[in-house]
Point group: C2
Chain length 198, copies 2
Amino acid sequence: MTSANPSPGDVPEKIVAALDRIARGLRSHRQSVASRVGLTPLQLELLQTIDESPRPVIGLLAKELEVSQPTVSDSLLALERKGHVVRRRSDTDRRRTTMELTDSGRELVGEVRRAGEILRSSVAALAGPDQEAVLDILLSLIGNLLDAGIIQVARTCRTCRFYDHRDGLDARCALLQIPLPPAALRVDCPEHEPLLAS
Amino acid sequence: MTSANPSPGDVPEKIVAALDRIARGLRSHRQSVASRVGLTPLQLELLQTIDESPRPVIGLLAKELEVSQPTVSDSLLALERKGHVVRRRSDTDRRRTTMELTDSGRELVGEVRRAGEILRSSVAALAGPDQEAVLDILLSLIGNLLDAGIIQVARTCRTCRFYDHRDGLDARCALLQIPLPPAALRVDCPEHEPLLAS
DNA sequence: CAAATTAGATAGGACTCCTATTCTTTAACC
DNA sequence: GGTTAAAGAATAGGAGTCCTATCTAATTTG
């Protein structure tokens, strides 16, 4: 190694540190957005996740949010007390709980979505080609983190059994039969099915 | 019916979603690492931050961790009860509290650092050039988030008043008088001084 | 049909995290 | 110099997070 070179330092280390810094910021930002509308961060995420789920199930919500099932039950109870959600037993399987946002719940989701615009614009301020690059790399990272057991749920193309990327060919989705250039890769695909561990 | 159109979608949106997913994973990973050593995530971060600070001050620790001052006081109390930290009043300024890790505290920090290896290796598994690219972009993002007020503290080169990057020239640190190629950019520089708002 | 599994709810406890307040101690000012 | 002001931190109080362990009820399975 030529000693004249400034030490590049440990890049992965720095990336972890940068992710940490960003994660702290996002946490505290979520906290302030949530409290502005009278919620807690978890309640807010739960509300958004319910809104995005066609047929939310408590156990899956827990996995989704990477918390335990009782934590979701707790938080859901709080949301119900605040009148943003109604719960009832499922008719088809009476062990299950179904839930639905109330009008006030839906209203909050929209309000919060608008508040999140600041965050999206911080990301959008990155140069265009950089955006695709960072998305691409974050998707790889999600795959690695999933393999490492650090994250539990991912519905990205790269972690999907329909992701078809033979050498030399452009990546495609084997289910939808569409090409998948980097910008079309999905972070949260409804059709996602995990790779089989076998 | 699912759209058959490979619409590139809103890339910034996807990046935010990916960051969210990663942040959730990191949170839950921290939780499990922390509880394995009998701590909570905040206690763990606090312990690490104290370890890295030459002369920790409660108010600054709060900013660093993006939580309120009483939250740090609380958590510090818990760490003291568990015997990982000792607190006392500062002699020079008797309003201040100084603190120090005990042997068991230092031991924990080392232990946890080893546990974090999994995370670093997930990042290290990215291709080399990708690593530099993602670091570069995350540093830009930190700058944007700082400007947007989403994060409160950053000690990166790009947010430092000594960062010297005239067009066409390679970036340098005006304080240390060293060149700053992308891999040498710092995430947490001890010499950092913020840009003046003027 | 009994046993196992699955979905959730409850219980209990430590802690987070906030705002508001109080107590000192230091700084600032006339 | 003596009186505000400001700074640093502890306390109080309260809702909520988040966990493990249980418990109940409803479905599956053998």
